[in-house]
């Protein structure tokens, strides 16, 4: 009952409503721009959330995530260029429908499917999070340390099949987290006498650099954005599907819901995996599989439902354990941490208004996504057609201005530019960036719990093996790393695969 009360308060609160409107609008527009992922759209807003009330801040960030999942389908359908990775599967049948003069129908299916998926995901989020979080009440400092290690191990081993690169990135992130004042003894580490580094390197700065600045550098070095062909004005009018159509497509939607729920909750899963899996399964279970690839409605609604389910279920591990499984949820976690909120079981008792308020805000955001999505198509098309140089300039302007808003320090801008270089180099050399972000965000939690555990046991490292939960989590981490290592070794031994890998 208390949860419903806080949720209702959030739904009827004007600041939360405005945050949801602003977040969804920004998310749709940002998601519609190829090259602006949901995580970049969220990262650009992070500095602005500093001075906002905590609930408004997290709802704003979550609403961006929700909106961007729909926004990515607009250019996917109209100009065959997905705005986000999750919309890549939508291109297959969505653009085909556009070519047949049915682009408006495809956009309508995407919007309605996304709304249904988002609401379904929200039901799962609100019912699963607290029971999972209550498991974490049994966590001791050794268990939290092990959980952080497990989180980085999972993401490192799933990252693009490059185990060593993923683990190296995670270690680098944790190294960055050691800069500043030691949390236990108060001595300064790696500050080189610079007072700006005494408080450490803020993860917002690294996120902005790794995501936004590195992407701008990639854009400057490549011609990935296309202004595309001018969308046909007639087929660009949104056409919402009828109830009968939605009922006819119920199987595809159900597949999207189930696979989105599973993939969203798995760290490293995410919208793009869920959308492709849903597309494939929808085709497998369809009564008309021959229509896939030729403008099938199921081929649009299944992936679009899935990627919006993910936008909610991906938050489950973040809220329950404080372990984000994707770039976007890592930024959402950042939003919590900025306001001194540590996701996990204690959040449900110390700040229930934040958790249930977030659920209420997400409900509002999904409804608003439907309403705003129905009218924002024109501005989206206008924005997609803007020359790339203008968009890059505007985004760079947002970055340099937003960074200053955090601590009013130009040193922070230098850090962001440096992080941008690091992010660019990592991407060029095939190093995944999510493990680095995770290492940075979880570094403090890992170190403080590690040293706390040793303080309690007077330096006895056996505590990490004697604590059952810690032992289990560390064993899982070792197993995941071990299995990934075996896969890599097999890949190295297979000459055919070696040539493919060497050519990468």
């Amino acid at each position: 009952m208390e949860g419903l009360y806080y949720g209702w308060q959030a739904v009827t609160s004007m600041p939360v409503l405005l945050a949801a409107i602003g977040g969804v609008t920004w998310g749709i527009l940002g998601g519609a721009l190829p090259g602006i992922s949901p995580s970049i759209a969220m990262a650009l807003l992070l500095p602005f959330t500093y001075n906002l009330p905590p609930l408004v801040a997290v709802v704003l960030l979550a609403a961006v995530y929700v909106g961007a999942e729909y926004g990515g389908s607009i250019p996917a359908i109209l100009i065959r260029t997905p705005g986000t990775n999750s919309a890549a599967a939508t291109v297959i049948d969505g653009y085909e429908m556009q070519r047949q003069g049915r682009g408006g129908e495809a956009l309508g299916l995407s919007l309605v499917g996304g709304t249904i998926g988002g609401l379904f995901g929200l039901i799962l989020l609100s019912t699963l999070t607290e029971p999972l979080a209550s498991l974490a009440l049994y966590f001791t400092p050794p268990a939290y340390f092990a959980l952080g290690i497990l989180g980085i191990s999972i993401i490192g081993s799933l990252s693009e099949g490059a185990l060593l690169k993923g683990l190296i990135a995670g270690i680098l992130g944790m190294m960055i987290a050691t800069v500043g004042t030691d949390p236990i003894s108060g001595v300064s580490r790696f500050t080189f006498g610079n007072p700006n580094l005494l408080e450490g390197i803020h993860f917002i700065l690294v996120m902005l650099g790794i995501f936004a600045v590195a992407e701008l550098m990639m854009q400057a070095g490549e011609d990935r954005w296309t202004e595309g062909t001018k969308p046909d004005a007639q087929s660009a009018r949104l056409r919402l599907p009828s109830i009968a159509t939605l009922w006819r497509l119920r199987r595809a939607q159900a597949i999207g819901c189930v696979l989105g729920a599973i993939e969203g909750a798995i760290p490293g899963g995410g919208g793009s995996v869920a959308s492709f899996l849903s597309y494939n399964e929808a085709r497998r279970w369809s009564k008309e599989p021959e229509k896939f690839g030729k403008g099938s409605e199921e081929g649009v609604i299944a992936p679009e439902t899935a990627n919006n389910v993910v936008s909610a279920t991906a938050i489950v591990p973040t809220l329950s354990f404080g372990i984000p499984g994707s770039n976007s949820t890592a930024i959402l976690l950042g939003g919590f941490l900025i306001h001194g909120l540590q996701p996990g079981p204690m959040l449900f008792t110390t700040n229930p208004e934040i958790v249930y308020g977030l659920f209420g805000g997400l409900f509002t955001a999904n409804i608003l996504m439907f309403l705003i999505g129905a009218v924002i198509l024109g501005p989206c098309i206008w924005l997609v057609k803007r020359p790339k140089p203008y968009l890059m300039a505007a985004i760079f302007g947002l970055v340099v201005s937003g960074v200053y808003a955090i601590d009013h320090s130009l040193f922070d801008l230098g850090v962001v530019l440096g992080a941008g270089v690091v992010g660019f180099v990592m991407r060029k050399f095939g190093f995944p960036t999510l493990p680095l972000i995770l290492g940075l965000v979880l570094g403090y939690m890992i170190e403080s719990n590690y040293r706390r555990a040793l303080l309690i046991t007077n330096g006895d490292h056996m505590v990490f093996l004697q604590d059952g939960v810690s032992l289990g989590l560390l064993a899982c981490a070792a197993l995941i790393i071990g299995m990934s290592a075996i896969r890599e070794i097999r890949r190295l031994r297979n000459p055919v695969n070696l040539e493919e890998a060497a050519a990468q």
Partner: protein
């Protein structure tokens, strides 16, 4: 492949440097059995091991597929110019960083918008100038007036007195 080898070597060197940096961290009696240098040293060792493994993996792959390892050398010079173009954005950012305390936010952000647009292919034109002017006004209104961020005013207040 060669890039991986260089990257692995640099990471290995960095791990050694990091270890020495961690060793230089002052000891404190407030620390427990593991001091402020504990985790940094462990991270340095882990990075060293992983980097060595990465180098070994790369060498194995190069030995197994030498043709693929040497392939694409001609493409590298083209890629290098793309890298330089990418780093040009950082140079623009550094330029903003240097100029903003002197020229003030409004003028510098306008210059930034203009420079980035030209750098990325837009030809100088009246429209571009209008974009830079309107953009700087919009950013000023948003950040300084609405969000109340005390962005640098430069020498203008002194000039106006």
């Amino acid at each position: 492949m060669r890039g991986n080898l260089i990257t692995g070597s640099l990471l290995l060197i960095f791990s050694v440097v990091f270890w020495f940096g961690a060793d230089a961290i002052p000891k404190s009696s407030l620390s427990g059995s593991v001091g402020a240098d504990g985790l940094p040293k462990m991270l340095a060792i882990a990075l060293g091991v992983l980097s060595a493994g990465f180098i070994a993996q790369t060498l194995l792959m190069m030995r197994a597929a030498p043709a693929a390892a040497n392939a694409g050398r001609e493409e590298k010079s083209g890629e290098f110019s793309l890298y330089l173009r990418a780093f040009g954005m950082i140079v623009i950012g550094v330029g903003y960083l240097v100029l903003v305390p002197y020229l003030g936010y409004m003028l510098t952000i306008g210059l930034l918008l203009l420079t980035v647009a030209i750098y990325n292919g837009k030809r100088p034109s009246a429209g571009l100038l209008l974009f830079a002017v309107l953009g700087s006004v919009a950013f000023y209104l948003l950040f300084v007036r609405i969000l109340d961020v005390p962005l640098p005013a430069g020498f203008w207040p002194r000039l106006i007195g």
